[in-house]
Amino acid sequence: MSTMDKYVSKTVQTIPPSGIRKFFDLVSQLEGVISLGVGEPDFVTPWHIREACFYSLEHGYTMYTSNQGLIELREEIALYMKRHIGVSYSPEREILVTVGVSEAVDLALRAIIEPGDEVLIPEPSYVSYSPGASLAYGVPVAVETFAEDEYRVRLDRLEKSITPKSKVLILAYPNNPTGGIMRHEDLEALVDIIIKNDLIVMSDEIYSELTYNGQHVSIAAMPGMKERTIVFNGFSKAFAMTGWRIGYACGHPDLIGAMTKIHQYTIMCAPIMAQKAALEALRHGETEMKKMVENYNYRRKIMLSGFREIGLECFEPQGAFYAFPSIVNTGLNSEEFSEKLIMEEKVAVVPGNAFGVIGNGHVRCCYAASVADIDQALDRIGSFLARHRKG
């Protein structure tokens, strides 16, 4: 077959393929694998939420909704945001319901970036932001974060990365893959420089309910920050609703309006049955959600203490459901480690360099797995380390 590569746009060609994809193909061929490589809850969506979706289908809710999403859902989101992060948003003008946070990130980048604008992305980072910035003809700029700083964005490192072309700062805390969070004082320290350099902040808070020691804080709640922050949140992680693809963005009416423009021509609206389910989640889902969070916290501790026992150095994650241990004392790089681990011990983890160059020397382990599986995986990783530890 003749190659058609020449027809593919330069922009798309230069985006590297996802590091996870290659690994996925490898794992799929094996049997008996314990996977710590997933990026989603191990709970199925609570029954009452699924049931609300059936009910809406039975009653014929199968049509488009308004572009911004069902008004009752936006009203419920406004109430939730007020109690969750203490910021008021107008359901009519400042909230847009999207197909997952992924869509919201894409819309925001496309709505705001001019070609050549720089997008500051703290790394290690979730895999979508950098390609998303490139697809919007922006230039992704990594701001490195480190375990010794608890993976928080440090003012001096941010400052060094800012140029006259910087336009957007992405903050994704609690963080995938590190489990780092930004506390009140950490965010406060960045406010001045953000305002001075006239940056827009895109704050992906999809994991915010999964904050284990203390309360999640949003930068949108800081003085002067609401208007220049777009907050993303959704239902995937807190309510175990990944496959429903419902997220939302909250922000200044001008920015949300610009995003809505793209959304209305490209997506039209998020699926109504999923919006109905999301509505049920916000109205009646809190008790179940808190139980799930407590459960993640238990397993977070089990995994961490297991890592300590087998001598795997790891920053103590404060949020999300990932641990990001360092594997440098094996002398292997992330991909070698992950491949050997899967072939020799049948435990799947995600190589840290999938989350940016700075992630090399680490692997991501998801603890949204059963306690029995975590225990078993820890045993296997333990014997793997015993064989491969250097010196």
Binding site: S18, I20, F23, F24, V27, S28, V33, S35, G37, V38, G39, E40, D42, V44, Y126, V127, S128, N176, Y298, K301, I302, S305, A348, V350, A354, V371, D375
Partner: protein, 162 residues
């Protein structure tokens, strides 16, 4: 008290979780968790541990019945006296005092229907306080103690995802 409740909540869902793991989950010392557990067992806050088994998988034909019992309460002890007597029969798995049209609900297991019939006619109905009984045989179990029998939840997630 808070710690005791937390431990019990964990065990209520999974009795196989080890004291060491519980200690990790609750940021406690393992020795202390063992002490608390020993205390809970000794004082009968924990009455025992059992396993939810799907015997149908073995093609076993044991039978189980739920029996509604109307009883005459007795001065001084009310329903307790007769409920405790009924509880002592080894074939009786559970005894509950109910609101509504009957008084006690008891669950009885045996190998055959006949054995249950004999239990009702010979042992249960002959108790002085028992006025009447209605026996319902359990035909099929769909869910018991949080476990769904027919379609156990399996992990349907992709093995690797971002």
């Amino acid at each position: 008290m808070e710690l005791e409740k937390k431990i019990l909540k964990i065990l209520e869902h999974d009795a196989k979780i080890s004291p060491k793991t519980i200690a990790t989950m609750l940021d406690e010392d393992e020795a202390h968790v063992r002490e608390v557990l020993a205390h809970l067992e000794k004082e009968k806050y924990i009455l025992g541990y059992n396993t939810v088994v799907n015997w149908d998988r073995f093609g076993e034909n044991g039978v189980e019945a739920m029996i509604e019992v109307k009883v005459t309460p007795v001065r001084e002890v009310g329903f307790n006296g007769v409920a405790e007597r009924i509880s002592r029969f080894p074939e009786v798995r559970s005894v509950y005092l109910m609101s509504g049209t009957y008084d006690l609900s008891i669950i009885v297991t045996a190998d055959t229907m006949k054995e249950i019939a004999l239990f009702v006619s010979h042992k249960l109905s002959t108790l002085d306080e028992v006025q009447s009984t209605v026996t319902h045989f359990i035909l099929k179990r769909y869910k018991q103690d949080n476990f769904i029998f027919e379609s156990p939840q399996e992990d349907k997630r992709l093995v690797i995802s971002p």
